[in-house]
Amino acid sequence: MSEGAKQLESLIGRGYAQGFVTEIDSDTVAPGLDEDVVRLISRKKREPAFLTEWRLKALRHWLTMKEPHWAHVRFPPIDYQAISYYSAPRSRKDGPKSLAEVDPKLLETYEKLGVPLHERARLAGVAVDAVFDSVSVATTFKERLAAAGVVFLPFSEAVRTHPELIEQYLGSVVPYTDNFFATLNSAVFSDGSFVYVPQGVRCPMELSTYFRINALNTGQFERTLIIADAGSHVSYLEGCSAPQRDENQLHAAVVELIALDDAHIKYSTVQNWYPGDAQGVGGIYNFVTKRGECRGRNAHISWTQVETGSAITWKYPSCVLRGAGSRGEFYSVATVNNHQQADTGTKMIHIGRDTRSTIISKGISAGHGQNTYRGLVKMLPSAHGARNFTQCDSLLMGGQCGAHTFPYVEAKNPTATVEHEASTSKISDDQLFYCLARGICAEDAVNLIVSGFCKSVFKELPMEFAVEAQKLLAVSLEGAVG
Amino acid sequence: MTRAATPMLAIRDLVVTVDGKQILNGLTLEVAAGEVHAIMGPNGSGKSTLAHVLAGRPGYEVTAGSVSYQGRDLLALAPEERARAGVFLGFQYPVEIPGVNNVYLLKAALNAVRKARGLPEVDAFDFLGLVREKMQVMQIDESFLSRGVNEGFSGGEKKRNEILQMLVLEPRLAVLDETDSGLDIDALKIVAAGVNSLRSPERSCLVVTHYQRLLEYVVPDVVHVLVRGRIARSGDRTLAIELERRGYDWVSGEAA
């Protein structure tokens, strides 16, 4: 083995830097799922009766559903009775009143992850809600946001402080009957973030949630609800990681976005759940339902995602474009390496007239990874003058991986236009040689070319995230070329 | 010069918005029959907008003002009616229409114009003769006839094709939108020869251009400078030369 190859090997071994476990005493509910567990979760969170009922309806519906297998991914049957549906660090009775009350071990965890919770920290422009296993452990910048009228709270707290908003909007974009994993989430969701931006308010800083799975054999089922009232503007970032374990862990989140007249929601994700090892052992099953509804005129929802982690990713951040003139966007980079599988894409449902959507998807496959883009663009009869443009490119690295593109175009309005373009190829030998001839080593050259390939998506990310995303991409593709 | 009672084109206080943005801001312009006017101006001054509004392109909203063509309200006519009435737009970026061949388009267009003038449809033999003759003027290859409209044409070929269509259709008012852009000197001369061959006391021409180069070959009677959607200055041929020397800032500064 050449020196270079050895270096590569060691780089791969080092691969997942967020794989450590935090030793912390947790209050974890025994594995299994029935109505008692759902009631227990609801009681622990001191939820109003409407929410308990809603969860129970979801559970009853879920029991009638079958696990879906249409996606281009393979996984052994999941034993839903072997999962614990609630785990919380046992450091306190109630939520911490301030950071001073947060367990130092947790603060340390987030420091290690590069997510500083101290408000004096350098990321002064970003308010963070940190979710550890099933609960939110800290939310920063509450006061400054409150001054602007922005509500940014752990979901479990918002349920108590803003029950009327929750009752009005929860499940209005992703109903509890939506799909197997969303229904499961509706029954057992633990925590997540709640955002409400009042009329005409431009949120003064980026909002961010960092999700961390720590406990063994637990699922994480967070729920995020963001409401942008008329004329408001908010940018929200989501990051995540999990310890390196041999067991697969289930992450079934739901995100609902609601944008009213002229409101703008920008939702960015850098997904870096533990992907499993080089042999495909362990890793997170990331089965997520994300959907936004442009409910008002000229509303605008933009999804940006960089998916580098998870053993399996199954998610389709989508836009329901109901309001006239509303816009939906989806920018995605998804990489798979080793034995990772991803089936991701979006749905753009055009209902209102003059609605617009743009889809830019970049898929990178390496190792034995299988990467699928799946997207639906639907023009309903009411979508006069609506337009979509989709560009969907795949890059293959090595002869053992797969890249698949499954777009659906359904048009029922003669004044609407849909355009879809896609290409699949390997890294061009010419490009590679050009870099080598300029003295750039192969690994750097590949990174360079891949970054260029992803550029149109990265430029949609807020600055700090773009840098992190680029680094993650490089790490996740290490060893992909020799 | 004696002016006819009715001008070929009379534009009064024209205000035009595109995508909610006002591009023409009360433009006034009159072109008499037999005259060639040049419209010059910096990028974004509204030159192409003016050309497209005259041809009736959808999406260009006239919010005020009037345009009269040979005494008729031009703005009340559909694009095809304008063409049949003798208004011709030479496009800056002629669209490619694969599958519709050049001969078909020329013949259908010519017959539409003839019908509007009360003339019988052109005989297929005469038609080909006419087209071949004009193709020679424009130095266009025979193979062109069977190809799709502008399909795979180079920039220069597209522009020559525009002028060929103009020669075949013999419009009363030709509006040439940056027909010179992207042409080398030889092609420019061919295009100019085509335009000049059509000059006559019954015809007028509005030449929209960024540079005065074309005007060395197609000599205008009047030169207008368009700045921020209005005519900032008008003059004779020497104005174009002055502009070339001093740059648009000279007029823009004055207009501000």
């Binding site: 698949h404 175009v409 048009a411 003669p414 290409s423 | -």
Partner: protein, 444 residues
């Protein structure tokens, strides 16, 4: 677990099995096909690859072969009247409700292409099984081919050997029976030997506007270096329903060009499967579909690149008018061993009616890195810039629109290299497009 539909098919199959056996050997093969079909069932609208097809008419259809019911009076004249003008240099073979009609056909040729009626071949001793055992793979959906195989009473077996000139054959399938009475099962089994060349015209027509149920199956095996130019024209009556299945396998350096134009039937579904099994095999698929009124035109094409350096070019142009639905689902699979493969797909749908629907799905499933695959898909109206250009030259709006529609189909129509056939197809399409006849005159 048989659905009521499958159970009814099995019942009808059992009741005619004896009569079928008397007509044609291969009872075991038909029984096997029926057993497999009973297990798999026919597709339903919940099946991912069948969601755009119209499967409802199956509920009312009778599956008994029309050939087993006595023809109605005057049927022969109606069939003769339905036949299009002959194509020069083509041998013609006519099948009525799936059964060979010798009086309307040329004598079976003895040249490079040997044409045999499947029923006639059955009469010969020891003919052996006509086709390999029915295949059911998850990708290439053969369920309607199984239905055909279970019931077909006749068909054409064609074997082509190498010759200086390509053989030229025209197969006409005329459907005359009403669907309540019986179904028509056209069947073609095609074998091109090494370097064999064939130009095949396969045409589906209706006699006297019959509302027939047609389930056809075509299989093609192309040996090394063989070349098949296949023209497929579906112009059944607007009351007919049609389900066809085509399966082709290509060996090394074989070339298959399929040109399909569909404008007929109330509901039509084509299922095409092409396996590029040998190195440097290549396929070009050009499909045009026209839907008007409440027609449903649905096609699924699966192309599997199984060997290195194989090539696909796929073009679809669909126009959907009035309340029609036109759908095309084109899937390309490149297997791990198929390095150096190249595939291009261009799928475009045009919405020409206020309640029309276009569904296009270009799919790529790729398992190796040394490939070049691209696809483009569009759905929408005619290009505004093109329309404005034509209007600005004085064309009437209607003629401009028609010229653009015609140009839209041109990418497929232009691939028809048999001049008379192209003219006939154009006439049919011009008729199908409102007021199009005059336009064709202008354009050509």
């Amino acid at each position: 677990m048989a659905s009521p539909l499958t159970a009814r098919i099995a019942e009808q199959h059992a009741s005619v099995a004896r009569t079928l056996a008397a007509r044609l050997p291969g009872a075991a093969r038909r029984r096997l096909a029926m057993e497999t079909l009973a297990r798999t069932g026919l597709p339903g609208s919940r099946d991912e690859n069948w969601k755009y097809a119209n499967l409802r008419p199956l509920e009312r259809a009778s599956f008994t072969p029309a050939a087993l019911t006595p023809p109605a009076a005057g049927a022969d004249a109606a069939v003769a009247a339905a036949l299009p003008p002959r194509l020069a240099d083509f041998m013609r073979y006519v099948f009525v409700d799936g059964v060979f009609a010798p009086l309307l056909s040329d004598a079976p040729g003895t040249g490079a292409a040997r044409v045999t009626s499947l029923a006639a071949r059955g009469d010969a001793a020891d003919a052996g099984p006509a086709v390999p055992a029915p295949r059911h793979e998850p990708g290439a959906d053969q369920r309607f081919a199984l239905l055909n195989e279970a019931f077909a009473t006749d068909g054409a077996a064609i074997e082509v050997t190498a010759a200086p000139e390509a053989a030229r054959l025209e197969l006409l399938f005329v459907a005359s029976a009403e669907a309540q009475l019986g179904a028509s099962y056209p069947r073609v089994e095609l074998k091109l030997g090494p370097a064999g060349r064939l130009v095949l015209v396969e045409r589906h027509l209706s006699a006297a506007g019959a509302a027939s149920f047609v389930t056809s199956a075509v299989s093609a095996e192309l040996a090394r270096g063989a070349a098949l130019d296949h023209y497929r024209v579906q112009e059944l009556s607007s009351r007919a329903i049609a389900f066809d299945t085509l399966a082709a396998t290509l060996a090394q350096e074989a070339s298959y060009r399929l040109h399909a134009v569909g404008s007929g039937a109330a509901a039509c579904r084509s299922t095409l499967g092409v396996r590029l099994a040998g190195e440097h095999a290549r396929v070009a698929l050009a499909v045009a579909a026209l839907g008007d009124r409440t027609q449903v035109q649905d096609a699924y094409a699966l192309i599997e690149h199984l060997a290195p350096h194989t090539r696909t070019a796929q073009t679809f142009r669909g126009i959907s008018a009035a309340r029609a639905r036109v759908a095309f689902n084109g899937k390309i699979v490149v297997a791990r061993d198929a390095h150096g493969s190249d595939s291009r797909q261009s799928l475009r749908g045009l919405l020409a009616g206020p309640e029309a629907e276009i569904d296009v799905r270009p799919q790529l499933e790729i398992y190796t890195d040394d490939v070049r695959c691209s696809h483009g898909a569009t759905a929408g109206k005619l290009d505004d810039n093109m329309l404005f250009y034509l209007l600005s030259r004085g064309l009437e709006r209607d003629s401009a629109l028609r010229a653009l529609k015609w140009a839209f189909l041109e990418d497929v129509i232009a691939t028809i290299e048999v001049p008379e056939l192209r003219r006939q197809v154009e006439e049919r399409l011009a008729g199908a497009m409102q007021d199009g006849a005059a336009l064709r005159e202008e354009l050509i």
